[in-house]
Symmetry: D2
Subunit: 507 residues, 4 copies
Amino acid sequence: MKNQTNLNHHISQNEKVPFTNNAAFCIGTGRMNLALRHEYHKQLEKVQTEIGFKYIRGHGLFHDDMAIYQTYMEDGIEKEEYNFTYVDMVFDDYLSLNLKPFIELGFMPEKMASSGQTVFWWKGNVTPPADYDKWTRLVCATINHWIDRYGLEEVKSWPFEVWNEPNLNAFWKNADIDEYFKLYDVTARAVKSCHPHLRVGGPAICGVDDERWMRSFLMYCRENKAPLDFVTRHAYGTEMPENDGHYVYQKLRKPEEFMLEPLGSREIIDSFPEYKGMEMHITEFNTSYSPLNPVHDTNQNAAYIARLLCELGESSASYSYWTFGDVFEEAGVAFTPFSGCFGLLANGMIPKPTYFTYLFYKDLYETAVAKNDHFIITKNEHGDFRGIAWNLVLEENSEAASLSVKLSFEAEKGTYFILKKTVDQNHGNPLKDWLNMGSPSNPSKEQTALLRECAKPLITTAQSKVNDDILNFEFGLDANAVCFFEIKKITPQCDRGFNPKRIAGAI
Amino acid sequence: MKNQTNLNHHISQNEKVPFTNNAAFCIGTGRMNLALRHEYHKQLEKVQTEIGFKYIRGHGLFHDDMAIYQTYMEDGIEKEEYNFTYVDMVFDDYLSLNLKPFIELGFMPEKMASSGQTVFWWKGNVTPPADYDKWTRLVCATINHWIDRYGLEEVKSWPFEVWNEPNLNAFWKNADIDEYFKLYDVTARAVKSCHPHLRVGGPAICGVDDERWMRSFLMYCRENKAPLDFVTRHAYGTEMPENDGHYVYQKLRKPEEFMLEPLGSREIIDSFPEYKGMEMHITEFNTSYSPLNPVHDTNQNAAYIARLLCELGESSASYSYWTFGDVFEEAGVAFTPFSGCFGLLANGMIPKPTYFTYLFYKDLYETAVAKNDHFIITKNEHGDFRGIAWNLVLEENSEAASLSVKLSFEAEKGTYFILKKTVDQNHGNPLKDWLNMGSPSNPSKEQTALLRECAKPLITTAQSKVNDDILNFEFGLDANAVCFFEIKKITPQCDRGFNPKRIAGAI
Amino acid sequence: MKNQTNLNHHISQNEKVPFTNNAAFCIGTGRMNLALRHEYHKQLEKVQTEIGFKYIRGHGLFHDDMAIYQTYMEDGIEKEEYNFTYVDMVFDDYLSLNLKPFIELGFMPEKMASSGQTVFWWKGNVTPPADYDKWTRLVCATINHWIDRYGLEEVKSWPFEVWNEPNLNAFWKNADIDEYFKLYDVTARAVKSCHPHLRVGGPAICGVDDERWMRSFLMYCRENKAPLDFVTRHAYGTEMPENDGHYVYQKLRKPEEFMLEPLGSREIIDSFPEYKGMEMHITEFNTSYSPLNPVHDTNQNAAYIARLLCELGESSASYSYWTFGDVFEEAGVAFTPFSGCFGLLANGMIPKPTYFTYLFYKDLYETAVAKNDHFIITKNEHGDFRGIAWNLVLEENSEAASLSVKLSFEAEKGTYFILKKTVDQNHGNPLKDWLNMGSPSNPSKEQTALLRECAKPLITTAQSKVNDDILNFEFGLDANAVCFFEIKKITPQCDRGFNPKRIAGAI
Amino acid sequence: MKNQTNLNHHISQNEKVPFTNNAAFCIGTGRMNLALRHEYHKQLEKVQTEIGFKYIRGHGLFHDDMAIYQTYMEDGIEKEEYNFTYVDMVFDDYLSLNLKPFIELGFMPEKMASSGQTVFWWKGNVTPPADYDKWTRLVCATINHWIDRYGLEEVKSWPFEVWNEPNLNAFWKNADIDEYFKLYDVTARAVKSCHPHLRVGGPAICGVDDERWMRSFLMYCRENKAPLDFVTRHAYGTEMPENDGHYVYQKLRKPEEFMLEPLGSREIIDSFPEYKGMEMHITEFNTSYSPLNPVHDTNQNAAYIARLLCELGESSASYSYWTFGDVFEEAGVAFTPFSGCFGLLANGMIPKPTYFTYLFYKDLYETAVAKNDHFIITKNEHGDFRGIAWNLVLEENSEAASLSVKLSFEAEKGTYFILKKTVDQNHGNPLKDWLNMGSPSNPSKEQTALLRECAKPLITTAQSKVNDDILNFEFGLDANAVCFFEIKKITPQCDRGFNPKRIAGAI
């Protein structure tokens, strides 16, 4: 039998709790070349229409499949030339979708690389430049091209981040900290040489040996007067992976543990008088860092992210969910549409549960009146409430506990419309429907259409009358359910002669 | 406390029951001029994309707002000319949406009418022609224009029906039976004069004094050798109206009573040796004949229509639901989006419950294996089943009875995917959500979008293993619920390493 | 043999000539109910995408087919109610197309009218209200509904004009000037009673007895302190009509004569110290005021309007071309797509020549450097030029004179891109192509598609090098040709190895 | 001064000349992975909407970026698995666009290859399989997957071609003829093992040592009873390349020389009694075989292809223009939109002149009544004519010769509509307009939009009266112009009162 937890809370109109909603500031993406794909465009268009992120960040700007850096021989001398055909197509598309690039400067063009070490199925070169002058010219030529094409004012709004996760050998040869500082210094100065108001930051580290890296990086910048406009890092919520076939399984850390990383970095930054209060961008985050972990496709992921989003804005200017969609090739090409990849959307335009977490956060009001481990509640100037509640359950294989929520809202006399949208194991969970279908590797058009149809929250509405300044709102949440609710004062109208009591199913 | 009825049934693969699914043969529409509207086009496009009717029938072809019949004076003589601008726009649009017109020849152009009696807010003239030669020329000119524009082969596939409900004074002055026979005779011969293979029929009566009309009409045709290719009538399921403000309330007749009308006409037709087995088209049907009866917007209507659709095909070549959408002006302009109008869709592109009844019928297989007052079950050549079940409850204001259905399907050993889509009081019932919103007369864009989001069936999926030739499928239906289900044998796949047991919410 | 006129002109960078481009401020439309049509929506969407007007004005807000004003009997007393279903659909659509309504308050609901006099095929009632209190309540209810729905800030940006052409008996019974002043006074005060910042104006007269009307109106307002925020009038450029069948033929007045009307009204307004400099809106203008005059479909019309647009902004805050499209029913339903109706677009989404006049004006820069009877030339801050030239020929049946234009632009040394788009008898003149087709009344889908394909300007490009501060640009214009040109300094690029001399047809 | 050639011809209704129009049978494409791109999809959608090819053929099905062939280690043993995710996305898209794949079986997955030799920027492996059993399993697994997904009937309509241009070392290591025959034999039998009705062919050779290859291939098949359902080859019209920077320049061979290759192969095939009359598919053709030759972007190319298309159908069942669009990476990523690539469309959705050659051929009637080096004329059952004329000029840098065409058509008395669409140096030649713009490498959105606007044929219409059985039609063609014309008998209508003589610019 299921366990049940009870949660009671009174919400008053005038309470205020800290909450900064940066959920839609930035979103992650597969490598830049994938932005040329049709399915990618369609997914991003849907995401932008319905959620509307402001920035997008991904790898591979200087990877050879973007073809920017080119050389040729003339009179026995190697000459350089730059090809902006593809990057223009990508950025034109981003801008047309109301997205700005959060630029990651990397990886290394093969012809400029100091050695052959690569990362991912798509073989990004992760070695320092053989010649830093070539690198500088590449960075400057690229930025100047953007200034020509999009105007200085536009480019000034694009943050420039130097490289990705240099504290891992996988992404930066030998995780060589001094070499990274050199790269950072050279690159930051190159950016500023294009225009001093362009904004640059690093060190883009993940949570491995991160305290030492963060502290050393800031010391380096301070001592060398390296330009620094913001600090970046990543954060993931999983422990050691266990492999099985195409997949990876990992235990999720508790959200409280997850939060230690951004909070720790915040503390380090603030310990430097020069950098105290400086913007920190979490340029990647998610539960698992593996594109093969099925957790990404689950409603547990939706609940976990819902829990994080209510808190991350206090320390961080942004936290970029890694990634918006499943057009992604770091671990090769997925065999099935539910392959454990990072996306908010599965291929075939199928929203995963976490997609709805983002939809729900987009719809919150600005002012928070209550917040805890299970919900966040906001209000607007009319006294309407919007909130999100979740029931994150991390224990595997246990009898899942359901949560019973009883909220009492301070509300003036009148009539209220109550809206609730719920995503849980049985609603908005296409992974489960796909399993019921027999988990087809290559679903037919009809199966994919049905999965899209299934991938919707359960919506319920109600009307409530308040006579005594209290509106009671009770609901249950199954394990890993996430729900959005709105409580809105209304003035009911009634058309002449319209009598709901005489109409079947109306009340 | 609710009453519950239990229903048990065993379905074998090889049973066959009579069932002819003509649900999508024809659909009704508001008057032809409304087909020029933008909201009309969008609604019809949605209906055609998702349901796909073959024919469409409505009033007002010769009404003055279509501007076909024109006269002018030249040298002191009145001359006639015809303007096909609007009718071409309408028919071009229909054909582009894969719809053919089921032509209703009427009403009377004012300049040709014998008197000024009109029907509806839009004032359709319902009097005989002052000059039958003018009428004949009008009919012929119009049909010949269509043959020129669309080709004879196309026009041969359009049925021509003479007038609408002449057995009511409202639609035909004095309900003058002899005058109608004259009109029919003249018109049918005019049609045939354009091409002998064009198909013509009548008498398009409703259920008032219908036996006498039907019998007299057939006798007239026989005796006068009036051309007759098919017979038409209407059928509605409500009793006397009670008015209140903008609305009309009526008691629904039992479906068995409803069926007496088509079956009675069938019997009369078959009693004429010359006409035995002749196609009968029910060119209008619905619960209520009033566009002001809120029943049309309810899930009770969906259940009632579901009940009728399983049976009507046995007597009738078609039965045209009156109407596809709420762009309609017979009783004036509706004050609210849930105004009791006939449409499958409410204005604002909001599907009503009955819309889903049609979606469900569209997805049935051809061969029926079981059918009764509560369900129809079909199968395909692979042994997959698709069915529709409903729980029609007609008693007003009583404690609604729920229905518990237990079906056992003859099924070979293996794994099955089970899909269920349910429309009931709480799902796919936007009328209720609109009431909860405060029944706004003019919902905002956001409210309308939310209503569309609410107007979806609840979808559930499951997987079932059969070891012993029987698949048991049980479910409950609340009052006036309608559900669609599919039971399909599958061969589950499992990607290498994919382990649902390790994935939260997957099983 | 053709006559040819030569025109030489030197354009210097620093010359400035007066030019206010209000061409896209407002556009006319068929009556409001037609805004519910599908073809209307498509045409307006095209117009807004490509030209982008700010306001739209038409008749029929209170006409019965909009169904706003309703009455019913209760307890033997007539009660009023208002139905905003249709007007909301129309205004929602306008706003979604980035258009605001320029409200015309009229005509009279039948149930409120003092008598039965109507105008147009669609029978707009043009009589004073039988009861001015009813009218006041209607105006206020409607405006307050808009404030509720769209917000006060939005509605404050909508001008309110009282009635249409009251100086004609056709539009205002007996052209009763005192009755109009009463209507104006009551209505203006009603508008202001909704909010004092709402803006109201009149007298919406056309060019018949207009001086007396204008002067008397302003005197009335002054003496009675009737609210007045702007003045409105109409202006058309044709003389007496001659009828033939469905058509009307008229002589065009010279543009100079046309200009006398707005300039005369401007002078009258400015002669009142209280009203000096007050905004004047020409809420309708065109060549002919008849929707049956084929001139509207011609390239002569395009040249005539091009001529007017270069000058009207000096006296008038707006001048609303009557109308954007041919969904229009004042004179009934057109028998053919080139029926002499007002639209920039013919039905079937076919641009007429005047459509391009508007496209061309939209693309002008703000600052004018040269302007005369044959062209207007503007420049931007980079020294690029854009201009429009036309060759208006009014003489009928004469040997059309062609115009040879030689412009010399002051231009710094460098390379220039020259773009020219021409609409003349043989290009962008679908009327002529339709005549060549045999003037089919009801063109097929293929014929309509071909007409759209034909309805494009001839585009030519060139490159020019300037060595001596002068760029010479010569071109010819056939009778009634209109052309747009751009002269833009460029920095040619040349991809490595790309050699136009080796490429056929490249240079 | 220009030279002018005169061409006079009389066309009679009853003459018949041989002409088989297979222009739209098949079209070429960049490698399969590029079919996942957004720009690719948009271009292909346009091509299919406007031209409508039946088949599409390109390289790279088994290239590693399609990820079909995968291996992994289990218990120390290498195991194989197949990933159809991407190929399903591509073929689903093709089928949704009414295209069927003309399958080319190649190149070699790296893990299956016998050595590392690759072709193109994208590094297609062109070596034989290290293990022919692995290859056979790959071919069979892939085909069987398609049969599962799309049904046997569908797959039976897909031709299977074995490899690409094995007679070049670039495409097949050492151009090893015996190894190819082995590959062919193994592959053809693998195809047939999936189903005997699947159709297979080769040898897919280009014009190098082609006679020996063709003859030997047919002898091999005959002797070894290798399945063979059709023969394939390629044909290009250029001579030796000269390189300059990113570009390649070549002399065009005369069309008569070009034709020798298909005719020669036809003759060889027909010389084998077993294969006489067998279908020959030219699975690639174009002027130049280099994606760096600017000729592809010229109107000369359009004229050259027009010339070939009138003749190729006599020897060949298809001739697949290489390629539909410029999403293409064989020589890397283009620096500019006019990079000499093969496409009918340049990137940015800009039609090149040859696009119109295909549009024109699509619109021809089936029956040809006249054909020569300069035109092809067809007629339908009503006696309407449609033709294409061209003026191919191959001499570089010479004074281009214009062509004066005088056609006299046998035509019955009556009125005719004459339509002409012309593409020449000044119309439908966006390359020239782009050069005039300064040949920007990365045109802005506005520049690209203008190029699309320029890329249209000049359309002219006329009306002609025939009194004496002859319709004379004269027109001039500049160097490398291509024009389409239609001559159609019409019955002019004239709306009552419509008088073109009173309408400016109408006649």
